[in-house]
Symmetry: C2
C-alpha cells in the first residue's frame, strides 16, 4: 500500500465535521479510489471545548489555524474557515508559499484573490482546489475545468444560492410574501440571522466569479458584476410569472457576448417546463453552453455537510492520485484581465410588473411609452377593477436590448398613476 | 512548449469528423488546457474516397484500422469504430498490449469486455478512457469516477438513449402511436433503418453496464440486466401518465439493494414536475444518489458529432496532462464479480393499464385480484362507456414489491374480458 496522504484540517463546523465523517465512514472505498489512505494529521478550530456532532479525530490540535501549514509531513491543507481575508487567507497563502496543496470551500477568497492565489500556487508547484466552493453537490468545477475542456464556453447560468431558492419556492407554494418567508427560514435555520449575504446575491456573485474565471479563462473579478438580490420579489411577481408559464429564480449568469463577458446576479424568469424551472427548494443548478457540447444542466444540493464534504474529499482524492491541473484550468499567466461588459446590450424577453392606481388611460400611457422606445409588447395581464385603488399590470415584451427597455421603464416609473417602483426581470429561455 | 500529444484516429464518421473539427477549431484553447498541443498522427476509416463534411487531416492513412497502434510515436489511439467484436476490439486490445492509451466511445465493447480491458490496461500501464461512451454531452463518467468518488453510490438512473426519448416526446406532443412516430424518426435520420438496438433498450443497457461498474465497483455485466424497450408503450399510456402527473421515459437504472445490485432498462413513469420529467427530445439525463452528496441530476445531449467529440477530446486532454486513473476508478483486481439481483423485491408505486371489454363486473374482478395479492390501489381512471367494446382502465398502486404486483397482473391478464396484454410500469419518484 502506498504511503498515506496526510491533511491538516482548518475548521470543524458543519462542513469540517462532514469531511471527518466522510473520511472515516468511507475510508476503505476512498483508499481504493485514491490509491492510498487519506489521513487527518492535524486539526484546528476556534473552540476546542465546543460540543460537536462529529467527534474530532485524535490528532494534534493547532490553536492558530494559520499555523496548520507548519505541521510537519502534511501533503495538503483543507481550509474551511471562510471569509476573503483574515485567518483563511493567511492559511491559504502560507500553505501555498510552502508548496503545500490547498483544498478550500472559500468562494469569497477565490472571488477576491483567485488570480493571485492561482499564480502563487503555480509558482510554488502546489495545488489549489475548490470543488466545494460552488454548488458542493454538483461537480461543476471539475466539469468546467476538465469535462468541458474541449469547448469554447458561451454561457454559464446557475441557481447558486440554496437559501434564495428555498425562499422563492416557499413563497410560491404558500403564497406568502418575502419578509414572512424569510423570518420562517431564519427560525428553521435555513437562513442566517443576518441574511444579507445570501438574499442580496453576494454569495451567488462570489460563486459566479469562480465559474466565470473557469469558463472564460479570465481572472475572477468581483467588481465587474451586476448584483441584485431577491428582496424586491413579491408574492404577486411569483404568481404572475406562474400564470405566464415561468418560475422566478435568482440566476447568476456569465456569458460571452460580442462586446465582452457579461456577469450578473439577478432574479430572472425561467420556463416552468424546463429542467431549470423544476429546480426547487435548497437545490442548486448550473447550466453550461459550449460550442461543441451544446447545452447541459446539472442539478444537486448546494450546501450542507454531506454535499460539501463530498466535494472536499473528491479534491483530496485527485491530489492523492497525483492529479494536478492549474487552479483555473489554464496557466495563470494566460488568464485574461478585463474584457467585461455590462447588461445594457443583452437582448432578451422581459417581464414587467407595475402597480398603478386604477384610472382610465393608465395602460394607454404605458403602451405609448413602450411604443416610443420601440419595445414590442407580447402579453398583458390586468385583472380586476378597483377604481383609484392600486392594481397590478403585468407585461411581457419581445426581444429587446436591456438598455432600451430600462429607459422605457424609467419613464413608466415616473407616471403619476404609479403606486410602486416597477419590477423588471429578464426572461431566460433554456 | 511541451512536446505534442500524438493520437491515431480510427473512424471518420460523424463522431470522428467532430473530433477532427474540435481539435482544429479549438486548437489554441486545447493547447492551453492540455499543457501541450494535441495532434493527429494517423487516421483510418473504411472508405478513403467517401465525401466527408470534415476534411480528413493530411496525415498517414492506415488501411487496416487494427494496425493503427503500430504507427510509431503515438501516445493514444482513439477508437470510434464501434461494436463489441471485430476491428474495434482488435484495435483496443492491440493498443493496450503495446502500452498505448485508448480513448473510445464504444459502450458495447465496454459492456461485454470492460473488465478484461481494464485489467489489460492496468497490467500494461496504459490508460483506457471512455467519457464518450455514455451520454457524450454529460461528463458523467468523470463525475462518477472522480467527482463523486467520496461517496458510496446508492443508485444511478438515466435517460440514456436519445432516440427513445425523442420518440416518446414526439408521441406525447402529437398524440401519435409508436410505429407512426418511429417511421417519421427514421425518415428524418433520428432513428436507424434497423432501430432495434435503440428502441429495444440494448444501447441503453450497454451504457447502464458501464455506469453500474463505475458506481458500484463491479465488473460490467450485460447478462445480469433486465431489458425491455419502448415498442409496447402506446399513445394511450402516454396520455394517461400525463393525466396522472407523469411522463414515460426509458430509464436505465442500477441500484444497490439489500439483496444485491439490481440493473434494469425499462419504460418507467417519472413526475412531470421533476427535473428528470422535464428532459425531452434527444436529451439524456443521469441521476446519481450518493451517501454524502445526496441526489443530483445532469442533463445534456447524448449523441451527435459535437457532444461526443467534446467527450473524446476531454479524455485526450486528461491524458495529455498525464492524468490517469484506473478505467473503472478502482484497481481491476478490486472489481467485484456478481452480487446481482433481479427486480422482484424492488418496492415501488406502479402504473397498470389494461384494455378490457366494457362489461359489468370487470373492474370488480381486477380489484378482487389486487386485493388477493395484497396490492393497494391508489387511483383508478376509467373513462367513457361502450358496452362490449374495448376500454382502458388505468390503475396506480401504492408501494408494493414488484414480484407481487407482477403475479397479480399475470392473473389479471388471464381474465376473459381482457382485450390486450396488460401494461405494467414502475413509477420512479425523484
Amino acid at each position: 500500500m502506498a504511503k498515506a496522504f496526510r491533511i491538516a484540517l482548518a475548521g470543524l463546523g458543519t462542513v469540517g465535521g462532514g469531511v471527518v465523517k466522510a473520511l472515516h465512514d468511507n475510508a476503505s472505498l476512498i483508499r481504493e479510489r485514491a490509491g492510498r489512505p487519506i489521513e487527518i494529521a492535524a486539526v484546528s478550530a476556534r473552540n476546542k471545548k465546543k460540543k460537536r456532532d462529529v467527534k474530532p479525530p485524535n490528532v494534534p490540535w493547532v490553536e492558530d489555524a494559520a499555523k496548520l501549514a507548519d505541521v510537519g509531513g502534511v501533503d495538503a491543507v483543507v481550509e474551511l474557515i471562510g471569509g476573503s481575508e483574515g485567518t483563511a487567507r493567511k492559511l491559504v497563502e502560507g500553505s501555498l508559499k510552502r508548496g503545500i496543496g490547498v483544498v478550500t470551500a472559500n468562494k469569497a477568497l477565490l472571488a477576491h484573490h483567485g488570480y493571485e492565489l492561482a499564480k502563487l500556487a503555480e509558482d510554488k508547484g502546489a495545488a489549489l482546489k475548490y470543488e466545494a466552493a460552488v454548488a458542493g453537490g454538483i461537480p461543476i468545477i471539475k466539469a468546467l475545468r476538465e469535462g468541458f475542456a474541449a469547448n469554447k464556453i458561451k454561457a454559464v447560468y446557475g441557481i447558486l444560492n440554496g437559501t434564495c431558492n428555498y425562499i422563492l419556492t416557499e413563497m410560491r407554494e404558500t403564497g406568502r410574501d418575502f419578509g414572512d418567508v424569510l423570518k420562517d427560514a431564519q427560525a428553521k435555520g435555513y437562513a442566517e440571522a443576518d441574511p444579507s449575504f445570501d438574499i442580496d446575491g453576494i454569495d451567488a456573485a462570489h460563486k459566479l466569479c469562480v465559474l466565470s474565471a473557469l469558463a472564460f479563462g479570465v481572472r475572477p473579478d468581483f467588481k465587474n458584476l451586476k448584483i441584485s438580490g431577491i428582496r424586491r420579489v413579491t408574492a404577486k411577481d411569483i404568481f404572475f410569472a406562474q400564470e405566464l408559464g415561468f418560475r422566478i429564480k435568482l440566476l447568476g449568469s456569465a456569458r460571452q457576448t460580442d462586446k465582452g463577458i457579461c456577469q450578473s446576479v439577478e432574479p430572472c424568469l425561467v420556463p416552468i417546463k424546463s429542467p431549470m424551472g423544476a429546480v426547487d427548494g435548497v437545490f442548486n443548478a448550473v447550466f453550461v453552453e459550449g460550442d461543441f457540447v451544446g447545452n447541459g444542466l446539472s442539478v444537486g444540493r448546494g450546501a450542507g455537510a454531506g454535499p460539501t464534504a463530498s466535494a472536499v474529499v473528491a479534491d483530496l482524492i485527485d491530489l492523492a492520485r497525483g492529479f494536478d491541473v492549474p487552479a483555473f484550468g489554464i496557466p495563470a499567466a494566460k488568464m485574461k484581465q478585463g474584457g467585461w461588459t455590462g447588461t445594457d446590450h443583452l437582448v432578451s424577453h422581459f417581464y414587467l410588473h407595475v402597480v398603478v392606481l386604477d384610472r382610465p388611460g393608465v395602460l394607454a400611457d404605458i403602451a405609448a411609452i413602450m411604443r416610443d422606445h420601440d419595445v414590442s409588447i407580447e402579453t398583458v395581464i390586468q385583472r380586476g377593477r378597483d377604481p383609484d385603488k392600486p392594481v397590478s399590470v403585468v407585461i411581457t415584451c419581445h426581444s429587446v436590448a436591456q438598455a432600451r427597455i430600462e429607459k422605457a421603464v424609467a419613464r413608466i416609473g415616473k407616471l403619476r398613476s404609479m403606486a410602486d417602483k416597477p419590477s423588471l426581470m429578464r426572461i431566460e429561455k433554456f
